[in-house]
């Protein structure tokens, strides 16, 4: 058979099971778009390439499958960079296919030429510059294998325009690429027995679990371990949803904005089971003083994470789920009454403080209200800032892949397009994007994309007329000297929504704001809600940057 590079690319994506691609066309990827005309793949036209990147992420984070996005060369590719870097830091499998100027033009500073390959080396798991149509037959399946295998991550495929147009004869389509089996990194019986022994000998063990549990699909097994041996558990931002919110063994999120009781309990631990985590500075505080009284067992699928930030007393390089499969049967039953009683005592000594202003403009109240209204299977996305930390502290996440947030890169502008992606991949479920008045404006143009698609997405702009987390740090660490953290002008978000033919709700104007909020979460289709909150509220407690986790202020 004979096909062009563009046709081969699109057909290979179909064969991988890709059904939706978000992107923006331009001069250098027009042949690929032309090939999409004859494809079963649905294309979602975004208004900015970064929106397309985060839609791909919303698809990937909510399903575990690869999300795909397209951009043209030059500015198309540079606009994607933030979304790709974000996927790298949070280990999200996306594939970005970028158009490139024709191969003979590379290096001439041609129109819309940028070194996409060089530019994306540090922010991808791997990247390819495709030199011939024939190479696509190996590069595309390989990209899927790389994106999904081991620790997932983003892959860029840069395709020069002449390669897209090149026609070649070939006999067979390659097999679709898939993840290497997790069992290819085996766990020895001896290693599992060693950890079981350390758990048996520990008086005050704590599980510290993160995104690796979600990628591994190991939440249930983790719960078995914690239940069977009475081990309390704390999670990182990337691990939100891995444990039932109402279980007393669930200590909530740890670290910079974790609860006071959690960070204090961690100091008393004598064994730390670190599962699918990377000892990130926002979780550990001063890493040398993190759990300094505990032996550390570290399990991660990425061998380079072990010992990178903190030396482990014992480690296993493996998928967390594979390890748990072997470990759980070896662990004895234990209720750890004494340790759990001590944790109860710490919690009574350091209760979660009530908000400064407990009314409907209080952010924690608002989040509590949203959680009360939201359907059980609602997917939450957040942007980045105070609202994100309040959501992580107070939203009772119901399960894995139900709380999508930009953890490592902390990208404002993530939440809204990620919500569109999650809604595309999860028809029938309500997706709620908790955003801020700063964050929403970083990808506000995607309101047009949402209007195109009419999805069940509710955006709630927690509006404090500030870059709240910046304002908070200026208050706490710069003697209340404020600069560049208050918006002089904020738009009427409800009017903007209406301008994009969406339903906009301004809770200030509603006689019954709670009823209006309820309608905009439960009634089908897209809603944009402007929800005013007190601008002086801070996220507490807070570990000052660089301090150890016990040195919390506030809350």
């Amino acid at each position: 058979m004979k096909h062009t590079g563009a046709e081969i690319l699109v057909r290979l994506l179909e064969r991988q099971g890709v059904d939706v691609i978000a992107g923006v066309p331009g001069g250098s990827n027009l042949p690929i778009y032309h090939a999409l005309n004859k494809s079963s793949i649905r294309h979602v036209l975004t208004r900015h390439e970064q929106g397309a990147g985060f839609i791909a992420q919303g698809i990937a984070r909510s399903t575990g499958k690869v999300g795909v996005c397209f951009a043209s060369s030059g500015p198309g590719a540079t606009n994607l960079v933030t979304a790709i870097a974000d996927a790298k830091l949070d280990s999200v499998p996306i594939i970005a296919v970028t158009g490139q100027v024709a191969f003979p033009m590379i290096g001439t500073d041609a129109f819309q030429e940028v070194d996409t390959y060089g530019m994306t080396i540090p922010i991808t798991k791997h990247n390819f510059l495709v030199r011939s149509a024939k190479e696509l037959l190996t590069v595309v399946p390989e990209s899927f294998r790389v994106a999904l295998s081991g620790r997932p991550g983003p892959v860029v495929i840069d395709v020069p325009k002449n390669v897209q147009n090149e026609s070649i004869e070939f006999d067979d389509w390659p097999e679709p690429g898939k993840a290497d089996p997790v069992e290819s990194i085996p766990v020895s019986d001896a290693d599992a027995a060693k950890i079981a022994g350390m758990i048996r000998d520990a008086k005050r063990p704590v599980i510290y679990a993160g995104g690796g549990i979600i990628h591994s699909g190991a939440s249930e097994k983790l719960r078995e371990l914690a239940e069977k041996n009475g081990i309390p558990l704390t999670w990182t931002l990337m691990g939100a949803g891995i444990y039932p919110a109402d279980d007393p063994k669930n200590l909530g999120m740890l670290g910079m904005h974790g609860s006071r009781a959690t960070n204090i309990a961690m100091r008393e631990a004598d064994l730390l089971l670190a599962l699918g985590v990377r000892f990130d500075d926002r979780a550990t505080g001063d890493v040398k003083r993190f759990c300094e009284n505990a032996k550390i067992v570290h399990v991660d699928i990425d061998r380079s994470e072990i010992g990178k930030n903190r030396k482990a007393d014992f480690f296993v390089h493996a998928d967390a789920g594979v390890l748990l499969d072997k470990l759980v049967p070896l662990v004895g039953k234990n209720d750890r009454a004494e340790w759990l009683a001590r944790i109860g005592e710490i919690r009574r000594e350091h209760p979660v403080r009530l908000p400064r202003n407990p009314d409907s403009r209080n952010p924690l109240e608002l989040i509590r209200l949203i959680a009360e209204i939201a359907p059980e299977d609602a997917i939450i996305t957040t942007d980045v800032g105070q609202h994100q930390m309040w959501a992580a502290q107070a939203y009772p996440v119901k399960g894995p892949r139900m709380f999508l947030t930009s953890g490592g890169l902390g990208t404002m502008g993530f939440g809204f397009p990620a919500a569109i992606g999650a809604a595309i991949a999860n028809p029938g479920k309500r997706v709620i994007c908790l955003s801020g008045d700063g964050s929403i404006q970083m990808n506000i143009q995607e309101m047009a994309t949402l209007a195109d698609l009419g999805l069940d997405v509710t955006v709630i702009v927690m509006n404090n007329e500030h870059l709240g987390l910046v304002r908070q740090q200026q208050e706490l660490f710069y003697n209340g000297t404020y600069i560049a953290s208050k918006f002089v002008t904020n738009p009427d978000f409800a009017a903007i929504a209406r301008g994009y033919h969406l339903r906009g709700v301004d809770l200030r104007a509603e006689k019954d704001p709670v009823a209006a909020l309820r309608r905009s979460i439960l009634e089908a289709g897209p809603w944009i809600v402007d929800a005013p909150i007190h601008s002086a509220e801070n996220v507490f407690p807070m570990v000052p940057p660089g301090a150890s986790n016990e040195q919390m202020i506030g809350g």
Binding site: G118, I121, R303, I306
Partner: protein
């Protein structure tokens, strides 16, 4: 001649125009020191051999782990007792003692 300060990471890699930037880029962005590189294609040119001269310090394990993750690496070995004459000629050329 053994050298305790430095050590050599010997690599077999897929040979293509981007492989060098993947490796040197990793050293730059992870703030690892790279003291010298010897590199050249082998056999039919589909593979290259690469010798990276690095400090033999507590970061060596992390460097090796990070380099191992790169897609184009076929084989990686740390040669504690590397032959220092490998890099001597380069040092002489760099210091102007010898000509290229």
């Amino acid at each position: 001649m053994a050298n305790l300060v430095n050590t050599v990471i010997a690599l077999r890699v897929k040979n293509h125009p981007g492989v060098m930037s993947h490796i040197t880029g990793l050293f730059a962005r992870r703030n690892f020191n790279l003291e010298g590189i010897l590199c050249g294609p082998t056999g039919d040119g589909s593979e290259s051999r690469m010798f990276l001269l690095v400090n033999n310090d507590e970061r060596l394990d992390q460097i090796v782990q990070q380099v191992s993750k790169l897609y184009d690496i076929i084989e990686i070995k740390v040669e504690e007792d590397y032959d220092r004459t490998l890099f001597l000629k380069i040092e002489d050329i760099l210091s102007g003692v010898k000509q290229c």
